[in-house]
């Protein structure tokens, strides 16, 4: 018998997808999602995808410059991505509305700048449906 503990490494690893609807610095939700992602990976679970939707697309902007004494979520997401090969997907339709564009999108839509941060990719809403189909668990971080 295993002792009662919050460590679940004894349990079977699961595949999670996180849906993040909230912009950083607007509410606590995006920061909570990041901490939850870190906890999952710490416990040996897999993150199939993090899908940034609604105002959550702002998490993928490289242009935010928060004051130095405030937590910057972007480098934390990027280092998780680099370390674990995370699939950080920003919904392209929600991103276009809110002005989060890749180089290719900026060129195609004739906008003056691109701001999608390295480590993130733009993709369609089908990636959320795909994640639902392929994950053991979906956790939504609302706005």
């Amino acid at each position: 018998m295993y002792p009662a503990t919050s460590d679940t490494r004894n349990q079977a690893a699961m595949n999670f997808t996180l849906a993040v609807y909230a912009a950083p610095h607007a509410s606590q939700s995006a920061a909570t999602a990041l901490r939850f992602a870190q906890a999952l990976l710490r416990q040996g679970h897999q993150l199939y995808r993090v899908f940034f939707y609604c105002d959550g697309v702002h998490n993928g902007s490289s242009l935010a410059t928060p004051p130095q004494d405030e937590t910057d979520l972007l480098p934390a997401w990027q280092s998780l991505q680099a370390e674990h090969g995370l699939d950080l997907v920003v919904c392209i339709a929600a991103a276009q509305r809110r002005g989060v564009l890749s180089e290719a999108e900026a060129k195609r839509l004739e906008r003056p700048a691109a701001n999608l941060a390295p480590g993130f990719e733009l993709a369609g809403l089908g990636q959320l449906a795909d994640a639902v189909a392929h994950s053991d668990r979906l956790v939504t971080f609302g706005s």
Partner: protein, 120 residues
Amino acid sequence: MGKRSLALCRQAPYGNALAREGLEAVLAASALEQAPDLLFSGDGVFQLLPGQEPDGIGQKNLQRNLQALPIFDIERAYVCEHSLSQRGLSLDDLATGGPALHPVSDIGKLISSYDTVLSF
């Protein structure tokens, strides 16, 4: 896949973007033949009121998204009875021009029958 998913729609239309973006996610999943079931509860039942004319506030009519659902084989949607009565509404007050509406009294039991719940 055999996995069952539910879209839980709790937002009124127009006041915030989540009602629209929720239905857009449902339509996208449906186009890929992974249509979730739909449950309207809380202020989400206001999405189902007929006679919406949002031209005057510069918005697109959200009911067009509802009306598109049968094209993707979403023929029915669940509605929380408790949410309706809280708001002084009955099923007869609602019309979508889209999926048929089924009242549900025990939404906890309904929710627990799914593998995944998408909250909108």
